[in-house]
Symmetry: C2
Amino acid sequence: MRLLEERILRDGKVRDGNVLKVDNFLNHQMDIVLFGEMAKEFHRLFQSDNVTKILTIEASGIGIACITAQVFSCPVIFAKKSKTKNIAGDVYTSSVESFTHGGTYDIIVSKEYLKPEDRVLIIDDFLAKGAALHGLSSLVKDSGATLIGAGIAIEKAFQCGGESLRGRGMRIESLARIKSMENGKVQFCDDDCD
Amino acid sequence: MRLLEERILRDGKVRDGNVLKVDNFLNHQMDIVLFGEMAKEFHRLFQSDNVTKILTIEASGIGIACITAQVFSCPVIFAKKSKTKNIAGDVYTSSVESFTHGGTYDIIVSKEYLKPEDRVLIIDDFLAKGAALHGLSSLVKDSGATLIGAGIAIEKAFQCGGESLRGRGMRIESLARIKSMENGKVQFCDDDCD
């Protein structure tokens, strides 16, 4: 999506350790007009899939998920990060490895809000090694709902999480796919690496 | 706001310790159509205040803040919860007492995104003892920006955070104000306690 790529080039900052800082418009300050355009693009891609629920993960996925849900006219559920094992049996839970902070954390969704008849679209801001997306897809699978696929704002394609999950049959649509960030310069996949 | 009050009566669940569980529509599963109506009401209340930024706090304030920002045509900033003191000097920081989990945590906002010329509306899902709202207002004050006020979905008026902050001059508009939850029954202030 050209608009998002241009914004990344203009306002994104490459930091050590393959970190792309986009907190000017995506995940600290949020440009809601841009989110509206991204939501339209997600809708164009998934409009024929009869989505009944959008699933995301706290915190930075929530904004894009909510603006996207307006276009799909469906509710959003956000998976909560939890440090304590929930043993009450009223939630679906999955373990996610954190590459940013080290260690693992659990994510949980109440069983009340994911049902076998649901058709779920996952929305998130970033896809890198795919740990969060894999965890979210596990929750959907456990619930018996249908996973339509995932809509991602920015995919770091060189970190291969998307490649791995696509290889296992998941449909993933990323609005900007980054091929490399070498020497502080962002290069997109565009047509040549799809 | 009648629509929100009716929804609280229909789907809210009162739990021990003055907990009102509204995760069916507000802060786990999110009813985006309802959020749209709440956003219009916040706009009706604050439309003449030339709001330039909406400020909220992760995680459950983000959805309402983003839908509200669409109506105001302005960006959202969400304050991040941090367990580590940031000493780089590039953020505004404030300490917030957590009554739910005990202890205190810091909230931070990058100095880049709050400027003296900004006119800030705080949006959040809950107001009880007012600790988070007080922390957010401190960040705005530190930045030199103008705090227009706060738009809150649900205020537990009997916990007096709103009363205290209004007494110090803050404008707070809550869409549903709860007078009591005794015996598991939610009663609203309506006109009689304004």
